[in-house]
């Protein structure tokens, strides 16, 4: 793999982390209102999977979408403005942090857990009907695998052999309930067996493995070999939302998972393999922090939408 590609992985993961930091700051100042769900700890999933895609592929995301959005190529300042409910946001601030759409970038997120899965079957069906070559990635969390939409959607995708990579981002908690209390199976990917499709579970702290796995799966799906369920084991370092009392887990547990933080892990990899020097990484990080700061300042200058904008595009 080229040095440039490796550095881009790092750059994007770090950017998503810093983007989240800005969001947290704006949330604590009530600039970003409700509906923001921090993504910290899961960055390797978004970057690993989205890097395996073409620009023309589609990504459907969840109530925790900002990492997927940035990794899919959405403009960070437009995403941030949307999260702050400002004009200049992707949907002029009308959708907010978990319901935005960047259709030119073929990205959409929806905040009803599991509902993106049936929607993705429609994209897959249209792609197939039009004999196009794109594929769809449908991201969802562990909690979504207990919704009817998940089971109905996977079944439909399976019987019609639709070009969809289902990515279950298992961050261990369905809001405040541990997934171990919500299912009786070890691996959520085994649910693929019910639908006669391939299911695989991998770890979420190793971006190179995520990228490799996703790339191979995308290739198969593009060839028409049907949908696949990929479960990626990960962990969110922050609460479900900002202000979450987090009484459902211990600080020790969080600290234990932070040892597996994919970002420093990959940073070390880049240094150990002598892919790049520390100064180079420092510069990348500094530039991203400055970029994020600039974006934040830009967003704060954006006005809130007018009533005319708020009442249009209903029909």
């Amino acid at each position: 793999m080229s040095k440039e590609r490796l550095i881009n992985f790092y750059r994007m993961m770090y950017k998503i982390r810093m983007f989240d930091e800005i969001c947290i700051d704006l949330k604590l100042n009530d600039i970003i209102m409700d509906g923001f769900h921090p993504y910290q700890g899961q960055e390797a999933v978004a970057v690993g999977v989205c890097s395996a895609l073409e620009n023309t592929d589609y990504v459907l995301s969840t109530h925790r979408p900002q990492g997927h959005a940035l990794a899919k190529g959405c403009e960070p300042r437009k995403v941030l403005a949307e999260m702050a409910g400002r004009l200049g946001g992707i949907g002029n601030g009308k959708g907010g942090p978990m319901n935005f759409c960047d259709w030119p970038n073929r990205f959409l997120c929806t905040s009803i857990v599991g509902d993106g899965i049936p929607l993705s079957t429609g994209l897959g069906l249209a792609i197939k009907a039009k004999k196009r070559k794109e594929i769809v990635v449908s991201f969802f969390g562990d909690g979504a695998t207990n919704t009817g939409a998940f089971h109905e959607g996977l079944n439909l995708a399976s019987i019609w052999n639709l070009p969809i990579l289902f990515v279950c981002e298992n961050n261990q908690y369905t809001e405040a309930t541990p997934i171990s209390k919500a299912v009786r199976i070890e691996k959520l990917s085994t649910r693929s067996m019910s639908y006669g499709i391939e299911g695989v579970t991998i770890n979420g702290d190793d971006i190179l493995n995520i990228y490799d796995t996703a790339t191979k799966m995308v290739e198969k799906i593009r060839k028409g070999e049907g949908p696949i369920l990929l479960e990626i084991i990960t962990y969110r370092f922050r609460g479900h939302y900002m202000g979450d009392p987090e009484n459902y887990r211990t600080k020790e547990e969080v600290e234990e998972w932070k040892k597996k933080d994919p970002i420093p892990k990959f940073r070390n990899y880049l240094l150990e393999t002598q892919t790049c020097k520390e100064e180079e990484i420092n510069t990348i990080e500094k530039n991203i922090r400055e970029e994020m700061k600039g974006i934040k300042e830009w967003v704060l200058k954006q006005p809130i939408p007018t009533l005319e904008i708020l009442t249009r595009n209903v029909y």
């Binding site: 959409l108 899965i117 429609g122 249209a126 439909l156 595009n313 029909y315």
Partner: protein, 359 residues
């Protein structure tokens, strides 16, 4: 030869045009009218496809989609598993990529399973994306009593959808309207909830062979009159027409019957103009009265035509009771006799005291 008009066709009132009568002479059923609309639109536009439970081989529970699978093949007429959420969500997703899905939900009672896809996604995506996405989907379903099939196969749920901005709600009452409105619905770029009535499928009516469209948001005077306005929907229009005949013959009361045909968008003008003429209004629908569409129309009339009213606006609606099993289902919804009695009271007496015994 052919009729140029793409607007509603004043066939109940016209005896004037021989040419029109000739063209209108073909009679087909409501079910056949729907089938024709789907066929014509699927032929015209490759993006139109049909998806639902048993719409293909079976041809739908009432035979509405018979022959479509043979004509268009399994890529455009898709039999699905029993998965209303996935069927509907799949339709919404396909619409996002420019397809024009016709999603069939076998009974409106089953639409409960698909509500999130309709209310949270189909109705909202254009708004939340500020116009980046349009959802040109038609969700066809049927409702009402008629199969004596108890409380969860007989409901009338139109007002749930009326209450959700972003949705268009269509309720045809005749084969002619069904065909013209369905064709317009398929061409519409917004999500349309197209509600048929199981009692209407076998009813026959005049439908021209020539292509026509009925615009969404345009009601029709189904029968002109000067003494009282009845606003009705779906099967209730048929009942109101029968009642109106008796009222004219036996009591010399000339009833004007308005069918808005689309509940959203609503043709306010046709309603208000009629009220201004007759000064009395009865609203009839099969759905339960409480929280029903009739209350909305009554309020509209109060807000915009109060000064014209000679009597309070009344509603005849289904009782606030689940529909029971069996023939007795008809006891819970308005019938012709109820309509006649209510009209007589509204026309003969003024003031508040006459309400006794009606409501």
């Amino acid at each position: 030869m052919g009729i140029k008009t793409t607007h509603s066709y004043p066939r109940n009132t016209n005896k004037k045009c021989v040419l029109e009568v000739m063209i209108m002479s073909r009679e087909i059923t409501f079910a056949e009218a729907i089938n024709e609309a789907i066929q014509e639109e699927m032929t015209r536009d490759d993006n139109v496809f049909l998806i639902g439970e048993d719409v293909g081989v079976w041809g739908n529970l009432f035979g509405v989609t018979k022959g479509l699978l043979e004509k268009f093949g399994p890529m455009r007429v898709l039999d699905t598993p029993i998965s209303e959420a996935a069927i509907t969500g799949c339709g919404v997703g396909a619409a996002m990529l420019g397809m024009r899905p016709i999603v069939e939900i076998m009974y409106i009672d089953f639409i409960t399973i698909a509500m999130s896809q309709i209310v949270n996604h189909a109705a909202k995506l254009k708004y939340m994306s500020d116009g980046q996405i349009e959802i040109p989907i038609v969700i066809r379903t049927q409702q009402g009593v008629g199969l004596r099939n108890a409380a969860i196969h007989s409901q009338s749920l139109e007002n749930w959808f009326v209450h959700v901005p972003g949705l268009i709600v269509v309720m045809p009452s005749s084969p002619y309207d069904a065909k013209g409105l369905l064709k317009s619905s398929i061409r519409c770029n917004n999500p349309v909830i197209f509600i048929e009535h199981k009692k209407l499928y076998r009813t026959k009516g005049e439908v021209p062979k020539e292509e026509y469209l009925i615009p969404l948001g345009k009601g029709e005077i189904k029968r002109p009159g000067k003494d009282i306005t009845i606003i009705g929907t779906s099967w209730m229009v048929t009942k109101a027409l029968k009642a109106a005949e008796i009222l004219e013959k036996e009591y010399s009361i000339e009833v004007e019957i308005i069918d808005p045909r689309t509940l959203v968008p609503l043709d306010e003008d046709i309603i208000l103009s009629s009220i201004k003429k007759t000064k009395k209004c009865l609203i009839v629908h099969e759905a339960p009265k409480t929280g029903g569409w009739g209350g909305e129309i009554a309020a509209l009339i109060m807000e915009k035509a109060l000064d014209y009213l000679d009597a309070p606006v009344l509603r005849l609606a289904g009782l606030d009771v689940p529909i029971p099993y069996g023939e007795v289902e008809n006891l819970l919804i308005p019938n012709e006799k109820d309509i006649i009695n209510t009209v007589l009271k509204l026309c003969n007496k003024m003031g508040i005291d006459f309400l006794e015994g009606i409501v």
